[in-house]
Amino acid sequence: MKKVLTTPISYDQIKDLKIGDTVYLTGYLSTCRDSGHRRVVQEGILPTKVDLKEGAIFHAGPIVGKDENGKQYMVSVGPTTSRRMESAEADFIEKTGVRLVIGKGGMMEKTTEACKKFGAIHCAFPGGCAVVAAQEVEELVDVEWMDFGMPEALWIMKVKEFGPLIVSIDTQGNNLFENNKKIFKERFDNLIK
């Protein structure tokens, strides 16, 4: 059976999840990447059209199109490399109270600590699968910070069973991609011996 998280995401919904688990998200999801993180963390400005407390963000820069009635819709919206946001994510989690960070690949030590301390998780959506993701967006609700341009703006979406999301950092301080790195490094050491 599909494990589905629903916004607002209580700590109870995520506390027992373990790295490698597959979950889905129903509710509100906002894109936020490099410039959005800079705005929240360095400039101390929070988005006004969505409350990220117990919410979810998606490291992604979409292609947004307009239908025949002029209404905007998600054409293609896959995840971007989460590691780029590592230097800002811990502060971002603390400042916003976000519970679920979705992106591509893993994040590192500071984010892992913040997830444990503030009760959040990081999940990876399969990179490149942008039309699959767009089809799970029920509605493009709103947008702010358009001054950054289309990829970097904060797009607020309503999603239904958005996933698969693979838990990469859980609330207990475990980190899937950092564990994998050790495995790959061992194989590398054998290879160049």
Binding site: V75, S76, C129, A130, V131, V132, Q135
Partner: protein, 299 residues
Amino acid sequence: MDEAKKQQWIKTVQDFTAMTGIYLPDDVEAQLHHLAEVEKIENAKTMYNCMLEDISLAKKLHRPLCQDTGVLQYFVEVGTKFPYLDEIEDVIVTAARKATLETPLRPNVVEPLAEHNTGDNTGYGAPYIEYELVPGGTDLRLRMYMAGGGCSLPGRSKVLMPLEGVEGIKKFVYQTILDWGANACPPLCLGIGLGTCAATSAMLSKKALLRPIGTHSKYEKVAKLEDEIRDGLNSLGIAPLGFGGSNTVLSVNIEAAAHHPATLGVGITTGCWATRRGEMIIHEDLSFEILSHKKSLEV
């Protein structure tokens, strides 16, 4: 040239650009299916299934299969007898702009060291266009590549000491993919260039990436190295997407040039599982053939 004829030519290149963002080239799609079939790890199979679903949804809905449609790069090999040499640049830039706005592709291009997005993927040096002349030829061979952010990040170039030899090349490549491969959406298409300096090695690595999967270097020793590096990287098991599985790469291609005996330049360029490249031939009467996407065009 005749304006109506020029508009038709722009449309040809615009459609070719859109096609490259929506459909994978035949060789990449076939190899991805192959890796999905041989994958044994359950979680990895789930990832491959998601990729294959994405490919088929993109075809069905006629949308870019990945939202990062990259910076548009065009590689022109043109015969010196091709009749419209003066128009090539304008046709490509206009086609890139129209493809961006009308497909739509993601407008990625920002001004140097600024956040200002130009809105249509054009700007100084964008789209990127490279030219090669073919003496006496009458055709234009046009190849294009969408350079995404994630898959461009592992790219690097380094000049080794010749005594480091083949083992030095391997170590540099393995280390680069170990450090950066997981985030570049593996299984990867890997292009390696071997030359004299950092710049020419990097350019050769791009040329290698543009070569179809399954083609080999004409130099026997280099062709053998392609297979050895492919097997070495696959033993790391980084794909799919860094979750870990039975492989790491879709392909390893090497372009090697005769070089200075005192240097061993190595360039690396990576493409993701959704390596989007296209190839077409435009004849002197502006009729054309698509070479890279024969299978997808049949559908």
